[in-house]
Amino acid sequence: MAPILQLKGITKQFPGVLANDHIDLTLNQGEILALLGENGAGKTTLMNILYGLYQPDEGEILVNGENITIHSPTDAINAGIGMVHQHFMLIPVFTVTENVMLGSEPVKAGDFLDRPKTAAKIMEISKQYKLEVDPGDYVKDLPVGVQQRVEIIKLLYREANILIFDEPTAVLTPQEADELFVIMRSLVKQGKSIIFITHKLREVLEIADRIMVIRRGAVVGEADPSQADRNKLAEMMVGREVNLVVEKEIKAPGENVLSVEELVVADEFKQVMVDHVSFDVHAGQILGIAGVQGNGQTELVKAITGLTKAASGKINFKGQNIVNNPPRKITELGTAHVPEDRQADGLVLPFPVAENLVLCTYYKDPYARGVVLQYEKILENSEKLVQDFDIRTPSSFTSVGSLSGGNQQKVIIARELSRPIELLVASQPTRGLDVGSIEYIHKRIVQKRDEGCAVLLVSPELDEVIELSDRIAVMYRGKIIAIVEAGDVSKETLGLLMAGIVPEKIEKPQGERVVETTF
């Protein structure tokens, strides 16, 4: 029997980049093929070709042994290929039924929408594949994990046989991710075939039947999950040996640098996003804030850095209350901020690297004398930081927007860490970066901690929080529901806490020490 999907010699050239270089791929019926690669390796391009968004320059696509051309997503769906996007394509104010039927609405007499018919079919699919949803719910009221199920149902409703999952776990809690894996298993058991795109090694080993690694647009090898390990896969992905474990000595924390007391922050709709939050961060300590995205972490960070107003509470930095101070004053006191959205907040993309590297200090000596910018010094600073932080850029004049994501982030890290600081607030410092850059940025953050800097790390990636932090606070619905010593808590417990479930006794990986829990 012919494989359900076969790609032969797919090549796609973009100006200056060979995004896909003669890629061959075979997907058999009823298997999960993991497509592993760094950002920019060409995974997404390949999938966009398969989904009809790009046309390949060379190569052919065979479905069930038949050569087909895909000009648009409609063609792809007709060929039985469906894609679950990283960012859901759902309309929040529509019900599940309405979202599913959108684009192929069944009608009954007189052009009226036939909702019951769709709803019945959704129930049928839901039962068959254990995808629990209520067709009458509004999408906006559903948790993210359930929204993703709706996306999957949309594809099954259109009778897709080949399902592409693009980084599906990025928005999920560990528990939700586990549920997704159960669903994926049940899908392949019933004859569907899945391509699973990710750069998370652990997940690949857990769920895939076969692993294909892509680097710089070309297939660098296949691996069997039962025989591969994380280090070997990372090496294949990056092309060199990677140190996945952050090396970090245990250190006694120093004096109290940041002390947040009963902080309350509301968003623009007066909804309380940070609800009476208190915690301390000491010198030489990394406090990690774990939690699913959207539980108030963004607002917490913005309040600490002065970018949003706090409704009440105190933020003490070295004993001085800085709540609702202007951002520049907070920066000048010796704090640094790696913002969550580097392109929106952290950089001015059309500006050259040199100017972005002095974005927070451009007005001060030696970069300005009076109001006159000293471009010689700005350039000197840039040349030095490009060297020190290994920023891969053609020159200091290159606009930051044309650099890769990893190098853009390095520009921010270089700018923030090169200043004399006592507090670093790093919000999702490695979001969307490749393994090599993550390794580098982690090393830099730990180095800063070792120098005695207090670090507040916010990340929805539980692995990152666990690996870097000395202490971990879990945030859920605007509250910090637990603060634990990093070595004292298991990943499962943290996962439960992230979902808002506080276990009676916090399970520890080993040992017997009791941990503090706050409510």
Binding site: P339, D345, G346, L347, P350, F351, L359, Y363, E376, S402
Partner: protein, 428 residues
């Protein structure tokens, strides 16, 4: 000196290259310049071609000739276009034959007449430079200053008032004072929408348009009331300004070429220096390009928005003051030939860069001056020239059209468009 030292010399220049989308590497420089210029150049060419068709299609002489025979019609059509464009060129840049004969045989008046066209083009360009700078500065700050026209009127009124009401001042005090009054008037008028945007979030485009209407009616009131010239029977004209407030013209009649042109160039240099060499400029450009990053960097967005609009208004006010003090010497209703609105297109054409604005303003001045001559020589109405300008602008403002006609590739970043778009709701 190696390459690195060369680069170090002028980061501002490198930034300019970067902003215009050309490559910073020295070896690629030539291609960079061509890349920057190809869209405007092709836009002008396409505009002229379309204009030629327009001239043919609207000429009765051509229609009459076609009645005789097809070939005669075609011949006449091309002669018409040739004559018109020749008039456009000699009318705006001068006729070499005339210049040479004036030099050899004529008196000084003949010579002045011969070189007048090109100098007159510069006179026509001057208000465009000021107004274009006003818009460009606005764009850089993420503001769409569509109120240049109104600011220009207020600036002109302020300059006129200082120009005629103060007497007995020496020229070196009176002229700068009147000019500054014009700048101040424009700045105040521009600051209002800036203030409204910064404090209430009201969009500057709407408020600027409203401020334009207020400015028109307000100046009409001034010219018919408090500032009217006695003895004109209610004509909306101001008194003549004092001679001490005149911006001096360099030559005798008919040449009107004046110091204002160099003042405009001076301000272009100043705007360039402020934008690309000072902390104010970096602040302004950051707020204009990415207000969220500006906030993150601790910049004061409210102050920048207000100051940006005021500075833009000041330049617009100078355009008005220049026309009064250097050319008209008194204020009348028909002061501006739509400089304020042309300047938006002009800033776009010049990629919101002071140097680009100068070249775009020169082009506008040449076209406008040449058009007048074209109208005199041939039978082509000035409206056709206005349409010609509009067509060129459409092509410049919509580079996608030019690119699709000439099959050019999409550049990396469409700076001008990005800057312009950010004016629409970019800054809160």
């Amino acid at each position: 000196m190696d390459k690195k030292d060369l680069e170090k010399q002028d980061l501002g220049k490198a930034i300019l290259e970067d902003l215009t989308g050309s490559e910073p590497q020295v070896k690629k420089k030539k291609r960079g310049v061509w890349k920057t210029l190809q869209i405007p150049a092709l836009a002008i060419l396409t505009g002229l071609l379309l204009g030629a068709i327009l001239i043919m299609a609207t000429s009765f002489t051509v229609y009459d000739a076609f009645k005789v025979s097809f070939w005669k019609g075609l011949g006449t059509a091309f002669t018409e276009v040739g004559e018109a464009y020749l008039a456009l060129i000699t009318g705006s840049l001068g006729n070499p034959v005339e210049i040479v004969s004036a030099l050899l045989y004529g008196d000084t008046l003949d010579f002045r007449n011969a070189i007048n066209p090109i100098l007159e083009s510069l006179v026509q360009s001057t208000p465009y430079i000021f107004a274009g700078l006003a818009c460009a500065l606005g764009f850089r700050a993420g503001l769409f200053n569509i109120g240049v026209e109104g600011q220009l009127f207020i600036g002109a009124a302020a300059a006129t008032f200082v120009g005629y009401s103060l007497t007995g001042l020496p020229p070196y005090i009176h002229m700068p004072l009147a000019f500054l009054a014009g700048a101040l008037g424009g700045a105040l008028w521009g600051m209002v929408p800036g203030l409204l945007k910064a404090t209430t979030g009201g969009h500057e485009v709407i408020n600027c348009i409203m401020m334009n209407y207020i400015a028109y009616r307000f100046t009409t009131y001034l010219l018919t009331g408090p500032m009217s010239r006695p003895g004109t029977g209610g004509m909306p004209v101001s008194p003549l300004i004092e001679k001490s407030a005149w911006i001096p013209q360099f030559f005798k009649t008919p040449i009107r070429f004046h110091l204002g042109f160099f003042i405009a160039l001076g301000f272009a240099a100043l705007v360039w220096w402020v934008l690309f060499k000072t902390t104010w400029g970096l602040n302004l450009r950051t707020v204009g390009t990415n207000p969220r990053a500006a906030r993150y960097a601790g910049m004061n967005i409210i102050a920048t928005t207000i100051i940006g609009m005021a500075a833009s208004g000041a330049l617009a006010g100078m355009a008005g003051a220049n026309e009064i003090l250097a050319v008209n010497r008194s204020m009348a209703i028909g002061l501006s030939a739509g400089y304020g609105f042309d300047s938006i297109a002009l800033a776009l054409l010049g990629n919101s860069h002071p140097v680009g604005v100068i070249f775009a303003a020169l082009l506008f001045g040449v076209l406008k001056n040449g058009a007048t001559k074209m109208m005199v020589v041939s039978t082509i109405p000035i409206d056709i020239v206005t349409i010609l300008q509009a067509v060129i602008l459409i092509f410049v403002a919509a580079p996608a059209i030019i690119r699709s006609i000439y099959k050019l590739k999409q550049p990396k970043m469409e700076t001008a468009a990005a800057i312009t778009l950010s004016g629409w709701g970019g800054v809160k």
